[in-house]
Amino acid sequence: MPGKAASVGAVTPLVTLRGVSKRFGPVQVLHDVDFTARAGEVTALVGDNGAGKTTLVKCVGGVHAPDAGEYRFDGRPVRLGSPREAAALGIEVVHQDLALCENLDIVENMFLGRERRLGVALDEAAMEDEAIRVLSRLSVRTIGSVRRRVSDLSGGQRQTVAIARAVLWDSRVVVLDEPAAALGVAQTQQVLEIVRRLADKGLAVILISHNMNDVFAVSDQIAALYLGRMAAQVRTADVTHRQVVELITSGRSGDLGLAV
């Protein structure tokens, strides 16, 4: 994996979209969107409902192929036809409605569909070892036993499992769709800590969120979509809470944002 070490903190963004457009029938969902996500950073993707956030991450995650524009991954142009191809590059998407099986335990969920085997039998010990390794790398200390059933876990713990599952596969880009949407205060805090930690470990994290406090708490960059156009992608340190809200609601704020 020559790219992996080199890309940590590298100047080249891991994910670069240039002039991406996407149309569903008569509806133009994305117009000429530029977007970047760097390794080691949390890039927050914000925008009002229907601004095109989900479509954009679906393009990143290989669910949709852009109609026009350029998609570069680690500097090389790519064309992703399916989520599987994206996963092969190391791009994992954690969906808003968690795709976990409640009747299975944490290890079983983390390896679902990609089980380790010894001959025909499952290699439970290897999977449990690996699951513990990944969870410790994320400094998760709120799970209890990795053999607990998901039905016994709280919402925050489930979110943690879903995220841990995404980074189990030496992923380089993790897309999180509203990870704290249905969580309480303490649980949100825990999940945000993990989001931050993922970036600190050198992954490129793309975070969709409606909550400005969360966005400012963890992100390095903020990309604001307005009616399918990229209003601005700015460093979080350079903007205020109010500016971002203006970018979301009107597409511009002072000299930032879309031209009138």
Binding site: A99, G113, E128, I143, S145, V146, E193, R196
Partner: protein, 433 residues
Amino acid sequence: MGDSSMSTDDIPKGKQTAVKLAETDFAADKREHDVGSAVADYWTRVRSGDLGAIPAILGLVGLVVLFTALRPDTFLSKGNIANLFIQALPYTILALGLVFVLLLGEIDLSAGVASGVCGAVMAKLITDSGQPWYVAVLAAVVTGVVIGSVIGWLVAWVRIPSFVVTLALFLGLQGVTLKLIGEGGTVPVRDDVIVAIANKNMPIWLGWTLAVVTALGYGVSQFLRWYRQHSRGLHAKPVQLIAARVAVVAVVLLLGTFLLSRDRAPSPLITLAGVPWGVPLVAVLLIIATFVLGRTSYGRHVYAVGGNAEAARRAGINVNRIRMSVFVIGSTLAAISGIVLASRLNSVAPGSGGGNTLLLGVGAAVIGGTSLFGGRGRARDAILGGLVIAVIDNGLGLLGTKAYANYLITGGVLLLAASIDAIASRRRSATGR
């Protein structure tokens, strides 16, 4: 990578307060359970609606006590105990196949009559065409595979609810059996090998050898597993509990062998003793099914699809293939059940597999602890539930209960088991946080 991770203050931030990063190390629960904590965990699980084998074992004990009290001379007689096991064989095999179907939250109402069709195919080939038994058995099993494939295809790809598909087949397949056998007729089964399954016994020494080997094999596999987990510091049950579990299984196996090895012939002039050949057949099927469900990725995927089909699909599992496969397994085991039933009755009649056969099969799986709502259940449920059903069937027979009462009671037992399942499942979702 740990060194390069930024401390909280370095993270570029806007005006909001930064998230505090707790640097505490991961403290996964790697502690060895002691007996106390394991029992406490188990009790918590039971209280939150995860009943496991408890209803079946309580039911079994209760029913045995009840029938022993009502028919003290006959119920626990040597001959009747052997009868019980033989009666349980077909239901148990049918239920084993239904466990796979129920794990997906689907139902196969045609499993009973499918066993009738497969039994009829076998009987016709042996009796009318003079085929050797293995050809007939193979044909019966292939018939089961075909029936299961048709159901699976209609459910998974045409997307008709399994309830409707198998209700249609329940009617249609009875027609097939009737056509094969002819109205009013029965086809006798006289092939030695087939008849032996339910009517002949293993030599006493072989019964004991198999029981001891099975008990040892179970013990060794359990302890090896514990050792692997323990030595790698993984989550393991306390070794005392494993020892207790192995001891219970060994005692049950040896006690069963002992009971069946006594001479149960009604006349002192002949000897009738030994474990019926059908018992090791069920044991082998149970071991295979347990391995497939618990230790292979196929089994894992069956549970996943039963628990959350959408999650399974997103994890890259071919949900339709899994859905189809459980019906194939269900109908194939129904075919084997049909063969065993034919062996027990020495014949196949047009009504074979009809009536309450299916009800008893589903009842066995559900009483054993397999949920009708999918995602929960084990292969051994079929055995436990099958024994409960056989005890009811046998006991009612000894009491000389009228046919109408028999139907009422069997239906009532199934409803009771389903109610326990439904209430437990509601409790699970209530405590599921």
